[in-house]
């Protein structure tokens, strides 16, 4: 019974994440950072590296949830999933040529991690991320397009709310949104 309830809680969290619930995302982010930081600091990383790796992992987790690639199996599955993505990202980095060039560490070193009771996840698909191209392109948009697209697609505000706040007509908000999407498409795949 208890387990069923906890998985239900996880499912609630997951649907909140899918709906971009800011409070849930924030709590998940803040509650799980310390553990990743400890892991990375113990394994030759710095604070800024811990933050970057964790944020990358957090985005990857978010994208996989959005794409229905994650199903919780126990009460802390999501937290474990996030931790493991971060851990894998850091381990990959340590093994990469980029890292080896700047470090004296030999092959076959041990990754120090006290937590051996983690659920293993299949992360094989995790590296294929076509949406990262779009993410990159998004950052090249003008600030107005960025704001408008963020408010509409991420914050899920209605065109009416957007029109009020940007102080434009609803029809013009709708057109602007379309033009911004066109710009983004051209950035992602220039004709």
């Amino acid at each position: 019974m208890r387990e069923t309830k906890q998985i239900e809680d996880q499912l609630t969290v997951i649907s909140a994440i899918k709906a971009n619930d800011n409070l849930v995302l924030k709590k998940l982010y803040q509650d799980n950072y310390k553990k990743v930081e400890v892991f990375i600091l113990k394994n030759n990383g710095s604070m800024p590296q811990a933050k970057d790796t964790y944020q990358e992992a957090f985005i990857a987790m978010y994208q996989n949830i959005k794409a229905n690639k994650f199903t919780p199996t126990n009460e802390s599955a999501l937290q474990g999933y996030l931790y493991q993505i971060a851990k894998n990202k850091w381990t990959d980095f340590l093994r990469s040529s980029r890292y080896k060039k700047t470090s004296q560490m030999a092959d076959g070193f041990l990754i120090k991690d006290e937590d051996t009771h983690m659920t293993e996840f299949d992360l094989s698909e995790e590296e294929y991320n076509p949406q990262n191209l779009a993410m990159e392109a998004f950052n090249h948009l003008g600030s107005e397009c960025k704001k408008l697209l963020e408010v509409f697609y991420f914050q899920k505000k209605t065109l009416r709310e957007i029109a009020l706040v940007f102080d434009i007509g609803e029809a013009s908000a709708r057109n602007k949104k379309y033009r911004c999407i066109q710009k983004l498409r051209n950035l992602v795949s220039p004709n």
């Binding site: 924030k26 803040q30 957090f58 076509p130 392109a137 697209l149």
Partner: protein, 253 residues
């Protein structure tokens, strides 16, 4: 990605409705049928899906910075400045402090009693309004001293003095968002929501304001205090801050 396959506004909105699951059954069946049979259409939908996930991910990414900053309170200049401003209060003779405390308690009890009779908006306003903690360190060099001097008053709750000092800077710093923002916030803290609305309203109309979310939040509060729930909701919706969302959900209850 499929560069040759241009998308029309109608197509985009149709795909959005499909992805957001807001499509009527009949349309949905047609849409899914086309997905099955039309390869170009399938690619187009996939393309839009990936692009929108990219937009959402990039938006989330920009929010992560804020999550991170809020997790570890930054105690740098701001903190040491505010402890400096505490010094004058420590000089206040203890007796006066006692009277002040007693007065505060009386006012508090009075407020509590009044609260039970006041309207929902007043109650919500009182519950949620906290003055902006102040921002003493980020002003430019020339007018820095005057601005900061008034900020000390502001942080001690001497809003009238702060306002009168800042007012002298207004003519020379017409375009200073920070100054206008604090004028608005100080007026609100001083209980003058009409003046606060004047200042903050102008700021929201100004596109590039560094306190955009905060401005919208305090403007929403000012409208709440003025008992204008509709405008309060409008600005709180745009503020996106946690406090705004909290207040908004209580307003909607």
């Amino acid at each position: 990605m499929n560069p040759d396959n241009n998308i029309t506004q109608e197509q985009l909105e149709q795909i959005e409705r499909y992805l957001q699951d807001t499509m009527p059954d009949e349309q949905r069946r047609q849409f899914e049928h086309q997905l099955q049979s039309d390869k170009d259409f399938r690619l187009l939908v996939e393309d839009v899906k990936v692009m929108l996930l990219g937009v959402e991910s990039a938006s989330l990414k920009s929010n992560l910075e804020q999550f991170h900053d809020e997790m570890v309170p930054v105690r740098t200049l701001n903190e040491s400045e505010s402890s400096k401003t505490d010094i004058p209060t420590k000089k206040t003779p203890p007796k006066i402090l006692k009277y002040l405390t007693a007065a505060a308690i009386v006012i508090f009890i009075g407020a509590f009693w009044l609260e039970s009779r006041s309207s929902t908006t007043d109650r919500l306003y009182a519950k949620h309004f906290k003055p902006d903690p102040g921002l003493p360190t980020t002003m430019g060099a020339t007018q820095n001293f005057k601005f900061y001097d008034a900020m000390v008053n502001y942080k001690q709750g001497e809003y009238e003095i702060a306002i009168s000092k800042w007012e002298t800077l207004l003519s020379s710093e017409q375009k200073n968002d920070t100054l206008h923002y604090f004028m608005g916030v100080a007026h609100l803290a001083d209980g003058n929501e009409k003046k606060a609305i004047d200042y903050l309203q102008k700021l929201t109309e100004n596109g590039s304001n560094s306190f955009k979310k905060e401005t919208a939040y305090y403007l929403g509060l000012a409208y709440l205090k003025a008992d204008n729930v509709e405008d309060a909701k409008k600005y709180l919706t745009f503020s996106e801050t946690e406090s705004a969302q909290q207040l908004l959900s209580e307003l909607n209850d």
